[in-house]
Protein backbone atom coordinates (compact mmCIF):
# COMPACT_ATOMS: atom_id res chain seq x y z
CA UNK A 1 0.00 0.00 0.00
CA UNK A 2 1.43 3.37 -1.00
CA UNK A 3 1.80 6.19 1.49
CA UNK A 4 -1.02 8.19 -0.10
CA UNK A 5 -3.35 5.16 0.03
CA UNK A 6 -2.41 4.61 3.67
CA UNK A 7 -3.18 8.25 4.51
CA UNK A 8 -6.48 8.10 2.63
CA UNK A 9 -7.41 4.89 4.45
CA UNK A 10 -6.67 6.70 7.73
CA UNK A 11 -8.94 9.55 6.60
CA UNK A 12 -11.75 7.10 5.81
CA UNK A 13 -11.32 5.36 9.17
CA UNK A 14 -11.55 8.78 10.81
CA UNK A 15 -14.79 9.56 8.93
CA UNK A 16 -16.26 6.18 9.93
CA UNK A 17 -15.20 6.85 13.51
CA UNK A 18 -16.90 10.24 13.48
CA UNK A 19 -20.05 8.68 12.03
CA UNK A 20 -19.97 5.99 14.70
CA UNK A 21 -19.46 8.59 17.46
CA UNK A 22 -22.34 10.71 16.13
CA UNK A 23 -24.60 7.66 15.87
CA UNK A 24 -23.78 6.52 19.40
CA UNK A 25 -24.54 10.02 20.74
CA UNK A 26 -27.65 10.39 18.60
CA UNK A 27 -26.13 13.54 17.10
CA UNK A 28 -26.78 15.17 13.77
CA UNK A 29 -26.06 18.75 12.69
CA UNK A 30 -29.23 18.57 10.62
CA UNK A 31 -31.63 17.31 13.31
CA UNK A 32 -35.08 18.90 13.62
CA UNK A 33 -34.71 19.38 17.35
CA UNK A 34 -34.31 23.01 18.40
CA UNK A 35 -35.38 24.25 14.99
CA UNK A 36 -38.57 25.89 16.21
CA UNK A 37 -37.12 29.27 17.02
CA UNK A 38 -35.74 29.99 13.58
CA UNK A 39 -38.16 27.94 11.53
CA UNK A 40 -39.77 29.66 8.58
CA UNK A 41 -43.47 29.02 8.53
CA UNK A 42 -45.48 29.52 5.39
CA UNK A 43 -49.10 28.51 5.24
CA UNK A 44 -51.59 27.83 2.51
CA UNK A 45 -51.53 26.01 -0.82
CA UNK A 46 -49.00 26.93 -3.51
CA UNK A 47 -51.19 25.50 -6.28
CA UNK A 48 -51.82 27.88 -9.19
Amino acid sequence: MSRSSFLYALWCIGVLGLYLAAASQGYSPFADGGRTAGAYRAYGPTHK
Binding site: L18, Y19, L20, A31
Partner: protein
Amino acid sequence: MSPDDSSVRTLSCPACGGTIAMRAAGYTVTLACEYCGTLIDATDSDARIITRYHEMQASLAIPLGTRGTLRGVEWEAIGWLQRSDGWASWEEYLLFNPYAGYRWLIAQNGQWSLGTMLTAAPQRDGPDQIAAGRRFSPFYSGNTARVTRVAGEFYWRVKVGEEVRATDYVRPGFMLSLEQDDREKSWTISELLTGREIRAAFDVDPPPAWLPGITPLAHQPSPYARRLKGWWPIATLSFLGLLVLLILLGGTMQPQSFSLAATPDGPAVSQTFGPIVLPLGRQAMTVEAVTPNVEQGWVDIDVSFVDRKTQDSYDAYALNERYSGQDSDGYWSEGNRSQTLKVASLPAGTYDLVVDVQAHHWGSSGSFAYDTASGTYKADGLPPVEIVLTVARGARFASNFWLAVLMILVPPLLMLVLHILFENARLAQKDGSPADADDWLQGMQSP
Protein backbone atom coordinates in the same frame (compact mmCIF):
# COMPACT_ATOMS: atom_id res chain seq x y z
CA MET B 1 30.36 -4.07 -14.34
CA SER B 2 32.68 -1.13 -14.66
CA PRO B 3 34.41 0.16 -17.71
CA ASP B 4 38.09 -0.59 -17.98
CA ASP B 5 39.94 2.59 -17.05
CA SER B 6 42.62 1.73 -19.60
CA SER B 7 40.08 2.70 -22.27
CA VAL B 8 40.30 6.35 -21.09
CA ARG B 9 42.73 8.38 -23.22
CA THR B 10 43.69 12.00 -22.64
CA LEU B 11 44.55 14.66 -25.16
CA SER B 12 45.13 18.39 -25.11
CA CYS B 13 42.56 20.73 -26.51
CA PRO B 14 44.18 22.41 -29.51
CA ALA B 15 42.18 25.57 -28.74
CA CYS B 16 42.67 26.17 -24.99
CA GLY B 17 45.26 23.56 -24.04
CA GLY B 18 42.98 21.95 -21.47
CA THR B 19 43.40 18.25 -20.79
CA ILE B 20 40.42 16.33 -22.09
CA ALA B 21 39.66 12.74 -21.15
CA MET B 22 38.29 10.55 -23.93
CA ARG B 23 36.32 7.87 -22.10
CA ALA B 24 35.05 5.80 -24.99
CA ALA B 25 38.27 5.73 -26.97
CA GLY B 26 37.82 3.67 -30.08
CA TYR B 27 34.09 4.52 -30.34
CA THR B 28 34.19 8.29 -30.04
CA VAL B 29 34.15 10.25 -33.27
CA THR B 30 33.61 13.76 -31.99
CA LEU B 31 34.86 15.27 -28.77
CA ALA B 32 33.87 18.63 -27.29
CA CYS B 33 36.28 20.34 -24.92
CA GLU B 34 34.85 20.52 -21.41
CA TYR B 35 36.54 23.90 -20.86
CA CYS B 36 36.05 25.93 -24.02
CA GLY B 37 33.43 23.91 -25.93
CA THR B 38 35.60 23.49 -29.02
CA LEU B 39 34.59 20.50 -31.14
CA ILE B 40 37.51 18.20 -31.93
CA ASP B 41 37.77 15.39 -34.45
CA ALA B 42 38.67 12.41 -32.24
CA THR B 43 39.52 10.21 -35.22
CA ASP B 44 42.32 12.56 -36.27
CA SER B 45 45.66 11.79 -34.61
CA ASP B 46 46.38 15.54 -34.40
CA ALA B 47 43.04 16.24 -32.70
CA ARG B 48 41.84 18.51 -35.47
CA ILE B 49 39.46 21.30 -34.47
CA ILE B 50 36.07 20.92 -36.14
CA THR B 51 34.39 24.00 -34.71
CA ARG B 52 35.65 26.47 -32.17
CA TYR B 53 33.30 27.84 -29.52
CA HIS B 54 34.31 30.46 -27.07
CA GLU B 55 31.06 30.54 -25.22
CA MET B 56 31.00 29.62 -21.61
CA GLN B 57 30.68 25.97 -20.93
CA ALA B 58 27.36 25.13 -19.40
CA SER B 59 27.35 24.12 -15.81
CA LEU B 60 26.07 20.59 -15.98
CA ALA B 61 23.83 18.89 -13.46
CA ILE B 62 25.87 15.74 -14.08
CA PRO B 63 29.54 16.61 -14.71
CA LEU B 64 31.01 14.60 -17.56
CA GLY B 65 32.88 11.59 -16.26
CA THR B 66 30.38 10.99 -13.47
CA ARG B 67 29.44 7.37 -13.02
CA GLY B 68 26.12 6.13 -11.76
CA THR B 69 24.22 2.86 -11.63
CA LEU B 70 20.86 2.80 -13.35
CA ARG B 71 18.79 -0.36 -13.72
CA GLY B 72 21.74 -2.47 -12.55
CA VAL B 73 24.29 -1.10 -15.04
CA GLU B 74 27.04 1.36 -14.19
CA TRP B 75 27.03 4.18 -16.70
CA GLU B 76 29.46 7.00 -17.27
CA ALA B 77 28.27 10.37 -18.57
CA ILE B 78 30.55 11.09 -21.53
CA GLY B 79 28.65 13.63 -23.59
CA TRP B 80 26.13 16.38 -23.17
CA LEU B 81 24.11 18.32 -25.62
CA GLN B 82 21.29 20.78 -25.42
CA ARG B 83 18.52 20.71 -27.96
CA SER B 84 15.57 22.91 -28.76
CA ASP B 85 12.60 22.62 -31.05
CA GLY B 86 11.75 26.31 -30.89
CA TRP B 87 9.19 25.83 -28.14
CA ALA B 88 11.03 23.88 -25.52
CA SER B 89 14.62 22.97 -24.82
CA TRP B 90 16.03 19.92 -23.13
CA GLU B 91 19.36 18.36 -22.31
CA GLU B 92 20.64 14.95 -23.30
CA TYR B 93 23.51 13.18 -21.59
CA LEU B 94 25.20 10.38 -23.46
CA LEU B 95 25.86 7.48 -21.11
CA PHE B 96 28.40 4.83 -21.92
CA ASN B 97 29.23 1.39 -20.64
CA PRO B 98 31.71 -0.70 -22.65
CA TYR B 99 29.58 -3.84 -22.23
CA ALA B 100 26.08 -2.34 -22.47
CA GLY B 101 26.80 0.35 -25.06
CA TYR B 102 25.18 3.79 -25.12
CA ARG B 103 22.08 5.22 -23.49
CA TRP B 104 20.61 8.70 -23.35
CA LEU B 105 19.69 10.45 -20.15
CA ILE B 106 17.24 13.16 -21.10
CA ALA B 107 16.46 16.03 -18.74
CA GLN B 108 13.54 18.39 -19.24
CA ASN B 109 11.67 20.51 -16.69
CA GLY B 110 13.49 18.70 -13.89
CA GLN B 111 12.23 15.31 -15.12
CA TRP B 112 14.69 12.63 -16.23
CA SER B 113 14.19 9.88 -18.79
CA LEU B 114 16.45 7.01 -19.82
CA GLY B 115 16.52 6.57 -23.58
CA THR B 116 17.46 3.37 -25.37
CA MET B 117 17.95 3.32 -29.10
CA LEU B 118 15.97 0.59 -30.85
CA THR B 119 17.72 -1.79 -33.19
CA ALA B 120 14.50 -2.53 -35.10
CA ALA B 121 11.73 -0.20 -36.22
CA PRO B 122 8.48 -0.48 -34.25
CA GLN B 123 5.36 -2.02 -35.73
CA ARG B 124 2.77 0.38 -37.06
CA ASP B 125 -0.88 -0.17 -36.09
CA GLY B 126 -3.10 2.55 -37.52
CA PRO B 127 -1.89 5.84 -36.09
CA ASP B 128 -0.18 4.01 -33.19
CA GLN B 129 3.21 2.35 -32.97
CA ILE B 130 3.91 -0.85 -31.09
CA ALA B 131 7.39 -1.26 -29.64
CA ALA B 132 8.72 -3.52 -26.89
CA GLY B 133 5.19 -4.88 -26.41
CA ARG B 134 3.77 -1.43 -25.68
CA ARG B 135 1.35 0.65 -27.69
CA PHE B 136 2.28 4.28 -28.27
CA SER B 137 -0.09 7.03 -29.47
CA PRO B 138 1.03 9.91 -31.66
CA PHE B 139 1.75 13.13 -29.79
CA TYR B 140 4.31 15.43 -31.42
CA SER B 141 4.81 15.43 -35.16
CA GLY B 142 7.03 17.24 -37.60
CA ASN B 143 9.11 19.16 -35.07
CA THR B 144 12.68 20.09 -35.82
CA ALA B 145 15.09 19.45 -32.97
CA ARG B 146 18.24 21.53 -33.20
CA VAL B 147 21.45 21.10 -31.22
CA THR B 148 22.18 24.38 -29.42
CA ARG B 149 25.10 23.47 -27.15
CA VAL B 150 27.39 20.49 -26.89
CA ALA B 151 30.17 19.12 -24.66
CA GLY B 152 31.94 15.80 -24.27
CA GLU B 153 32.29 12.99 -26.72
CA PHE B 154 29.89 11.35 -29.15
CA TYR B 155 29.75 8.46 -31.54
CA TRP B 156 28.84 10.69 -34.46
CA ARG B 157 30.00 14.04 -35.71
CA VAL B 158 27.74 16.27 -33.68
CA LYS B 159 27.81 20.02 -34.09
CA VAL B 160 25.80 22.97 -32.94
CA GLY B 161 23.03 23.69 -35.39
CA GLU B 162 22.60 20.05 -36.36
CA GLU B 163 18.93 19.40 -37.03
CA VAL B 164 16.70 16.33 -37.12
CA ARG B 165 12.99 15.97 -37.77
CA ALA B 166 11.39 14.46 -34.69
CA THR B 167 8.11 12.61 -34.27
CA ASP B 168 7.08 11.42 -30.85
CA TYR B 169 4.61 8.80 -29.66
CA VAL B 170 3.68 8.45 -26.01
CA ARG B 171 2.14 6.27 -23.38
CA PRO B 172 2.25 7.09 -19.67
CA GLY B 173 5.85 6.92 -18.52
CA PHE B 174 7.29 6.21 -21.99
CA MET B 175 8.06 8.12 -25.15
CA LEU B 176 8.91 6.59 -28.51
CA SER B 177 10.84 9.06 -30.63
CA LEU B 178 11.68 8.92 -34.31
CA GLU B 179 14.52 11.19 -35.35
CA GLN B 180 15.39 11.41 -38.99
CA ASP B 181 17.45 13.47 -41.34
CA ASP B 182 18.36 13.04 -44.97
CA ARG B 183 20.69 10.15 -44.17
CA GLU B 184 19.16 8.05 -41.44
CA LYS B 185 16.24 7.27 -39.16
CA SER B 186 16.59 6.28 -35.55
CA TRP B 187 14.02 5.15 -33.01
CA THR B 188 14.49 5.64 -29.28
CA ILE B 189 12.33 4.59 -26.35
CA SER B 190 12.75 6.79 -23.31
CA GLU B 191 11.37 5.83 -19.94
CA LEU B 192 10.66 8.39 -17.26
CA LEU B 193 12.79 7.79 -14.18
CA THR B 194 11.51 8.23 -10.66
CA GLY B 195 13.08 10.88 -8.46
CA ARG B 196 14.51 8.14 -6.26
CA GLU B 197 16.18 6.36 -9.22
CA ILE B 198 17.87 9.42 -10.69
CA ARG B 199 18.95 10.69 -7.29
CA ALA B 200 20.43 7.33 -6.33
CA ALA B 201 22.26 7.07 -9.66
CA PHE B 202 23.65 10.57 -10.22
CA ASP B 203 22.77 12.53 -7.08
CA VAL B 204 20.70 15.13 -8.88
CA ASP B 205 17.66 16.92 -7.51
CA PRO B 206 14.47 14.88 -7.73
CA PRO B 207 11.83 16.16 -10.15
CA PRO B 208 9.59 18.89 -8.76
CA ALA B 209 6.01 18.01 -7.86
CA TRP B 210 3.51 19.07 -10.50
CA LEU B 211 1.38 22.08 -9.69
CA PRO B 212 -1.46 23.60 -11.71
CA GLY B 213 0.07 25.99 -14.22
CA ILE B 214 3.14 23.84 -14.90
CA THR B 215 3.28 22.08 -18.25
CA PRO B 216 3.95 18.37 -17.74
CA LEU B 217 6.02 16.29 -20.12
CA ALA B 218 4.16 14.56 -22.93
CA HIS B 219 4.87 11.14 -21.42
CA GLN B 220 4.64 12.17 -17.79
CA PRO B 221 2.06 9.97 -16.08
CA SER B 222 -0.51 11.73 -13.97
CA PRO B 223 0.47 11.24 -10.31
CA TYR B 224 -3.21 11.60 -9.47
CA ALA B 225 -4.36 8.71 -11.67
CA ARG B 226 -2.29 6.30 -9.59
CA ARG B 227 -3.77 7.67 -6.39
CA LEU B 228 -7.29 7.56 -7.76
CA LYS B 229 -6.90 3.93 -8.73
CA GLY B 230 -5.46 3.08 -5.31
CA TRP B 231 -8.18 5.00 -3.48
CA TRP B 232 -11.35 3.73 -5.12
CA PRO B 233 -11.25 0.30 -3.38
CA ILE B 234 -10.75 2.08 -0.05
CA ALA B 235 -13.64 4.45 -0.78
CA THR B 236 -15.89 1.53 -1.77
CA LEU B 237 -15.02 -0.39 1.40
CA SER B 238 -15.67 2.71 3.50
CA PHE B 239 -19.03 3.25 1.80
CA LEU B 240 -20.03 -0.34 2.53
CA GLY B 241 -18.87 0.12 6.14
CA LEU B 242 -21.06 3.22 6.41
CA LEU B 243 -24.04 1.31 5.03
CA VAL B 244 -23.55 -1.39 7.67
CA LEU B 245 -23.33 1.24 10.43
CA LEU B 246 -26.43 2.99 9.07
CA ILE B 247 -28.39 -0.27 9.18
CA LEU B 248 -27.06 -1.37 12.58
CA LEU B 249 -27.28 1.94 14.42
CA GLY B 250 -30.19 3.74 12.76
CA GLY B 251 -33.16 1.87 14.22
CA THR B 252 -35.84 3.10 16.58
CA MET B 253 -37.24 1.28 19.63
CA GLN B 254 -39.87 1.42 22.35
CA PRO B 255 -42.44 3.51 20.49
CA GLN B 256 -45.11 5.27 22.57
CA SER B 257 -48.22 6.81 21.03
CA PHE B 258 -50.14 9.84 22.23
CA SER B 259 -53.08 11.61 20.67
CA LEU B 260 -54.96 14.86 21.06
CA ALA B 261 -57.39 16.93 19.02
CA ALA B 262 -57.63 20.56 18.00
CA THR B 263 -60.51 22.49 16.45
CA PRO B 264 -59.69 24.38 13.21
CA ASP B 265 -59.35 28.10 13.99
CA GLY B 266 -60.09 27.19 17.58
CA PRO B 267 -57.91 27.86 20.58
CA ALA B 268 -54.37 26.43 20.85
CA VAL B 269 -54.25 23.13 22.65
CA SER B 270 -51.42 22.29 25.02
CA GLN B 271 -51.02 18.87 26.53
CA THR B 272 -48.27 17.07 28.44
CA PHE B 273 -47.54 13.37 28.01
CA GLY B 274 -45.07 11.16 29.78
CA PRO B 275 -43.02 10.06 31.39
CA ILE B 276 -40.53 9.20 28.65
CA VAL B 277 -37.47 7.59 30.18
CA LEU B 278 -34.08 7.72 28.45
CA PRO B 279 -31.82 5.46 30.48
CA LEU B 280 -28.41 5.78 28.82
CA GLY B 281 -25.99 8.46 27.69
CA ARG B 282 -27.27 10.67 24.92
CA GLN B 283 -29.66 9.53 22.28
CA ALA B 284 -31.84 10.81 19.50
CA MET B 285 -35.64 10.68 19.54
CA THR B 286 -37.99 10.25 16.61
CA VAL B 287 -41.44 11.81 16.72
CA GLU B 288 -43.91 10.94 14.00
CA ALA B 289 -46.77 13.44 13.91
CA VAL B 290 -49.82 12.32 11.91
CA THR B 291 -52.99 14.33 11.34
CA PRO B 292 -55.17 11.84 9.42
CA ASN B 293 -58.22 14.07 8.96
CA VAL B 294 -56.75 17.50 8.32
CA GLU B 295 -58.38 18.88 5.17
CA GLN B 296 -58.20 22.36 3.62
CA GLY B 297 -56.03 23.54 6.47
CA TRP B 298 -52.91 23.15 8.49
CA VAL B 299 -51.82 22.21 11.97
CA ASP B 300 -48.88 23.77 13.79
CA ILE B 301 -47.38 21.15 16.09
CA ASP B 302 -44.72 22.19 18.59
CA VAL B 303 -43.22 19.35 20.60
CA SER B 304 -40.80 19.78 23.48
CA PHE B 305 -39.00 17.17 25.49
CA VAL B 306 -38.73 18.73 28.94
CA ASP B 307 -36.35 17.15 31.44
CA ARG B 308 -38.26 16.73 34.69
CA LYS B 309 -35.13 17.23 36.74
CA THR B 310 -33.43 20.16 35.03
CA GLN B 311 -36.40 21.58 33.08
CA ASP B 312 -34.14 21.72 30.00
CA SER B 313 -36.28 21.77 26.89
CA TYR B 314 -35.49 20.22 23.50
CA ASP B 315 -37.91 21.55 20.90
CA ALA B 316 -39.03 20.59 17.43
CA TYR B 317 -41.76 21.78 15.11
CA ALA B 318 -43.94 20.11 12.50
CA LEU B 319 -46.40 21.60 10.06
CA ASN B 320 -48.99 19.18 8.75
CA GLU B 321 -51.23 20.46 6.00
CA ARG B 322 -53.57 19.32 3.31
CA TYR B 323 -55.19 21.28 0.51
CA SER B 324 -57.13 20.04 -2.48
CA GLY B 325 -59.40 21.39 -5.17
CA GLN B 326 -60.64 21.14 -8.70
CA ASP B 327 -59.56 23.28 -11.65
CA SER B 328 -59.46 23.07 -15.43
CA ASP B 329 -56.78 20.35 -15.21
CA GLY B 330 -58.88 18.29 -12.83
CA TYR B 331 -58.37 17.35 -9.22
CA TRP B 332 -55.32 18.58 -7.35
CA SER B 333 -54.02 18.15 -3.85
CA GLU B 334 -50.93 19.14 -1.92
CA GLY B 335 -49.50 19.08 1.56
CA ASN B 336 -48.49 16.29 3.87
CA ARG B 337 -50.56 14.88 6.69
CA SER B 338 -47.54 13.23 8.29
CA GLN B 339 -44.17 14.61 9.43
CA THR B 340 -41.28 12.87 11.11
CA LEU B 341 -39.21 14.90 13.54
CA LYS B 342 -35.81 13.89 14.83
CA VAL B 343 -34.43 15.43 17.98
CA ALA B 344 -30.70 14.95 18.51
CA SER B 345 -28.61 14.10 21.55
CA LEU B 346 -31.04 14.09 24.45
CA PRO B 347 -29.19 13.41 27.71
CA ALA B 348 -30.34 10.48 29.84
CA GLY B 349 -33.26 11.38 32.12
CA THR B 350 -36.99 11.37 32.55
CA TYR B 351 -38.84 13.64 30.18
CA ASP B 352 -42.30 15.03 29.65
CA LEU B 353 -43.47 15.51 26.12
CA VAL B 354 -45.14 18.91 25.96
CA VAL B 355 -47.22 19.33 22.81
CA ASP B 356 -48.73 22.63 21.62
CA VAL B 357 -50.99 22.39 18.60
CA GLN B 358 -53.14 24.84 16.74
CA ALA B 359 -55.31 23.87 13.78
CA HIS B 360 -56.31 26.30 11.05
CA HIS B 361 -58.73 26.27 8.17
CA TRP B 362 -57.95 27.65 4.74
CA GLY B 363 -60.46 28.89 2.23
CA SER B 364 -64.15 29.72 2.26
CA SER B 365 -65.88 26.38 2.72
CA GLY B 366 -67.88 25.88 5.92
CA SER B 367 -69.47 28.58 8.02
CA PHE B 368 -67.58 31.50 9.54
CA ALA B 369 -68.03 33.55 12.67
CA TYR B 370 -66.43 36.89 13.53
CA ASP B 371 -63.69 36.57 16.13
CA THR B 372 -63.48 39.77 18.12
CA ALA B 373 -60.07 38.90 19.58
CA SER B 374 -58.31 38.76 16.19
CA GLY B 375 -60.75 40.90 14.23
CA THR B 376 -61.09 38.25 11.48
CA TYR B 377 -63.68 35.71 10.36
CA LYS B 378 -62.91 32.17 11.43
CA ALA B 379 -64.33 28.80 10.45
CA ASP B 380 -67.08 27.65 12.69
CA GLY B 381 -68.51 24.20 13.26
CA LEU B 382 -65.70 22.21 11.58
CA PRO B 383 -64.84 18.78 13.10
CA PRO B 384 -61.73 18.71 15.29
CA VAL B 385 -58.43 17.57 13.75
CA GLU B 386 -56.91 14.53 15.40
CA ILE B 387 -53.14 14.59 16.06
CA VAL B 388 -51.41 11.27 16.71
CA LEU B 389 -47.83 11.41 17.98
CA THR B 390 -45.60 8.33 18.03
CA VAL B 391 -42.40 8.86 20.02
CA ALA B 392 -39.58 6.34 19.75
CA ARG B 393 -36.01 6.16 21.02
CA GLY B 394 -33.31 6.42 18.35
CA ALA B 395 -33.28 7.95 14.88
CA ARG B 396 -31.83 7.23 11.47
CA PHE B 397 -30.12 10.42 10.31
CA ALA B 398 -29.71 10.13 6.56
CA SER B 399 -28.01 13.53 6.66
CA ASN B 400 -25.17 12.07 8.76
CA PHE B 401 -24.78 9.24 6.27
CA TRP B 402 -24.61 11.52 3.24
CA LEU B 403 -22.28 13.91 5.03
CA ALA B 404 -19.92 11.00 5.76
CA VAL B 405 -20.18 9.83 2.13
CA LEU B 406 -19.27 13.34 1.00
CA MET B 407 -16.28 13.44 3.34
CA ILE B 408 -15.09 10.08 2.01
CA LEU B 409 -15.44 11.31 -1.56
CA VAL B 410 -13.81 14.73 -1.11
CA PRO B 411 -10.16 13.53 -1.42
CA PRO B 412 -10.80 11.36 -4.54
CA LEU B 413 -12.84 14.17 -6.10
CA LEU B 414 -9.99 16.59 -5.41
CA MET B 415 -7.57 14.11 -7.02
CA LEU B 416 -9.94 13.78 -9.98
CA VAL B 417 -9.97 17.57 -10.48
CA LEU B 418 -6.16 17.69 -10.27
CA HIS B 419 -5.92 14.74 -12.67
CA ILE B 420 -8.17 16.54 -15.16
CA LEU B 421 -6.08 19.73 -14.83
CA PHE B 422 -2.89 17.69 -15.30
CA GLU B 423 -4.18 15.83 -18.35
CA ASN B 424 -5.58 19.05 -19.83
CA ALA B 425 -2.15 20.67 -19.54
CA ARG B 426 -0.42 17.57 -20.95
CA LEU B 427 -2.79 16.99 -23.85
CA ALA B 428 -2.85 20.70 -24.76
CA GLN B 429 0.65 20.17 -26.22
CA LYS B 430 -0.51 17.41 -28.55
CA ASP B 431 -0.01 18.02 -32.26
CA GLY B 432 -2.47 16.96 -34.93
CA SER B 433 -5.96 15.87 -34.01
CA PRO B 434 -7.27 17.18 -30.70
CA ALA B 435 -7.22 14.92 -27.67
CA ASP B 436 -10.04 12.39 -27.70
CA ALA B 437 -11.49 9.88 -25.24
CA ASP B 438 -8.71 7.39 -26.00
CA ASP B 439 -6.09 9.95 -24.99
CA TRP B 440 -7.93 10.58 -21.72
CA LEU B 441 -8.29 6.87 -21.04
CA GLN B 442 -4.62 6.36 -21.81
CA GLY B 443 -3.86 9.01 -19.19
CA MET B 444 -5.43 6.75 -16.57
CA GLN B 445 -3.09 3.87 -17.43
CA SER B 446 -0.21 2.93 -15.21
CA PRO B 447 3.33 3.27 -16.59
